[in-house]
């Protein structure tokens, strides 16, 4: 222990300037990321605003018990996982297909323009996406109902049909991230050695065979890395997306409430902070465990795919 401390002081003396350069980032991360974690103790307390985080009384696991007994805990966990799995599969699949097709287009100008357009949704805020959702689905003036009326069909009030929303959310998630994800896959595809393709076409492979037996296997490492990164976030809902698309629409909560939106709403209503913190803690701990397990398993199978 003594030598350890000596080593550190020696190192600090030797590289004083480097430590000074690190200090701002360390301080910022400490204050804005690490210190708020201490607030998680509220999960085990009966929080009262006037008593503060550390003054409030302990109540053991009561917050967790209440969350799961009320059914909310299960509901939001189920929704979060289902949405993430659904979003993961659709958005990655669409991005891979788009990336393969874009790289196969041989008119450079067309390729460039379409890729730019598909990348566009990444650059706008979720507030604007919320506007789009409203433009399409609102009952009186939405595009969907305009279309239905002009076809002589009956109008749909999407905001009272919870069953529709998994598809809507999934569609907009893919829409927003397709450009971003396909950039990654396009980079992976263009990194494939051109000679392999040449050899294949000399051997008489047609375009479908080349994609099936060269492109897809070559981008497999990228696909796996992307999946792993997402699996680590399986219990984290994209708050900005859910909040802007669904809003505070009570009718849709059963179908669209994820952990993050639930936490936010409780914060907004300033009700039961303890239970809300319990939900956050539960989410963070499970996420950490999942990432560690997945990483361990992946490391055993193939060291190269491990995240850390």
């Amino acid at each position: 222990m003594g030598t350890h401390v000596k080593n550190i002081t020696q190192e600090v003396k030797k590289n004083k300037a480097l430590f000074v350069m690190l200090a701002p980032a360390v301080v910022i991360v400490l204050i804005f990321m690490y210190l708020p974690m201490s607030g998680l103790v509220v999960a085990f307390k009966n929080y009262r605003y006037d008593l503060g985080v550390f003054g409030s009384e302990w109540n053991g696991l009561a917050n967790f018990a209440y969350m799961f007994n009320s059914g909310t805990g299960w509901l939001i966990t189920r929704n979060t996982i289902l949405y993430n799995v659904l979003n993961l599969i659709t958005s990655q699949l669409i991005s891979i297909v788009i990336a393969i097709f874009i790289t196969e287009i041989n008119k450079k100008h067309f390729q460039k323009v379409t890729q730019s357009i598909i990348f566009l949704p990444y650059f706008i805020s979720w507030v604007i996406v919320g506007v789009f959702v409203y433009n399409i689905f609102n009952y009186e003036t939405g595009m969907l109902n305009t279309l239905l009326t002009s076809l002589g069909l009956e109008k749909i009030n999407a905001y009272s049909k919870p069953g529709l929303w998994p598809f809507i959310i999934c569609a907009f998630n893919s829409w927003k991230w397709c450009g971003y994800n396909s950039v990654i896959y396009i980079a992976a595809i263009t990194g494939v050695d051109a000679e392999i393709y040449e050899a294949a076409s000399i051997d008489g492979a047609n375009i479908f065979q080349r994609i099936r037996y060269i492109t897809v296997p070559c981008i497999k490492p990228t696909i796996i890395t992307m999946l792993l990164l997402q699996v680590g976030r399986i219990l984290r809902g994209d708050f900005e997306m859910f909040y802007q698309i669904v809003g505070n629409n009570g009718q849709l909560f059963n179908a669209t409430d994820v952990i993050d939106t639930y936490v936010f709403r409780s914060l907004l209503q300033n009700s039961n902070i303890g239970m809300t913190a319990a939900a956050s803690l539960y989410q963070s701990v499970l996420c950490l465990i999942i990432i560690l397990i997945v990483n361990r398993v992946v490391k055993k199978i193939d060291e190269d795919y491990a995240l850390f």
Partner: protein, 300 residues
């Protein structure tokens, strides 16, 4: 790759594939573009037309009334633009220096604790306090309620950007650092006059990500900002949308003719005003994002 493709052009499967290829990509591009067209056409449509015919691809009863209404009292918009530009500029500049400096230190092979500090930063992506604890801590202990710092500080440092920047730093030969040292330059001198000039493309890339993040942020404003004159652009738009919604609901309940109130086209026009700069700028800067995303997807 491209030559080989032209050589075998003409085979049936290639032709069929090309048709599928162009169709799918065209449809995807159209789907991505369509909402923007509807938005712009809605902003130029008359309120009456939107009420009775709904949104369409082309403006109905072309009018600039909504824009005129916005710029009749331009203070709100200008103020919000000012706030957004301010937090974007300040946050991006300080964030860049912070991230570059940190990336430089943790990529120095001769810095013994670089792995310890890397883990210290990386851990925050694995575990965090979540929204409630962060909110309570920022408000009760850091007193950030209604302060512009709440919009700037939390977004300034990001581990993902740090890792990308580290890749850029690693590309700089260590011999340069050593020769600077031999010439008698201190660590700071080495960083600011040798490393930083070589990090231009890394700085441009991360700068773009930071700037986009600040520009599009509405979430921190929703949590921490109370006074309307501190609303950044995106949150101003959001609160306006909510108000227009509430107004329309009230008017509807009180059977006041809503048509007098150009709420729909106004919303669209406001969204155009808030998004315009990004759409105009993004074709020129997207190459930086492509670079950053590509580097970020390959773990450092």
């Amino acid at each position: 790759m491209k030559e080989s493709k032209t050589k075998i052009k003409g085979s049936k499967s290639t032709k069929a594939f090309n048709v599928i290829c162009y169709t799918v990509v065209s449809i995807a591009a159209m789907v991505c573009l369509l909402p923007f067209i509807i938005l712009v056409s809605g902003s130029f449509s008359s309120e009456q037309a939107i009420r009775f015919e709904g949104y369409g691809l082309l403006p109905k009863e072309f009018t600039t009334a909504a824009y005129e209404l916005i710029f009749k009292v331009p203070q709100t918009v200008i103020k919000a633009y000012g706030i957004s530009i301010f937090i974007t500029a300040v946050g991006t500049i300080f964030g860049l220096i912070l991230i570059a400096m940190t990336a430089y230190v943790i990529s120095r092979k001769d810095f013994k604790y670089r792995n310890v500090f890397s883990f210290f930063f990386y851990f925050t992506t694995l575990f965090n306090g979540g929204m409630v604890c962060t909110y309570i801590f920022y408000i009760q202990y850091l007193h950030l309620k209604d302060s512009l710092w709440a919009l700037i500080l939390p977004g300034m440092f990001n581990v993902f950007y740090l890792l990308i920047m580290r890749t850029f730093v690693s590309a700089i030969p260590t011999a340069l650092i050593e020769s600077a040292k031999i010439d008698g330059a201190g660590e700071f001198r080495t960083f600011f006059s040798v490393i930083l000039p070589l990090l231009k493309s890394g700085m441009a890339t991360i700068g773009m990500f930071l700037a986009l993040g600040y520009w599009n942020d509405w979430y921190n404003a929703m949590l921490y900002i109370n006074s309307e004159d501190k609303y950044p652009l995106q949150y101003m738009l959001y609160s306006l949308l909510q108000k227009a919604q509430a107004l329309a609901n009230i008017a509807g309940q009180a059977s006041i003719p809503v048509a007098d109130l150009p709420s729909n086209s106004l919303k669209m026009a406001m969204a155009v005003v808030a998004t315009g700069p990004i759409i105009l700028v993004y074709p020129f800067v997207q190459k930086y994002f492509v670079k950053g995303i590509t580097i970020g997807s390959v773990k450092g």
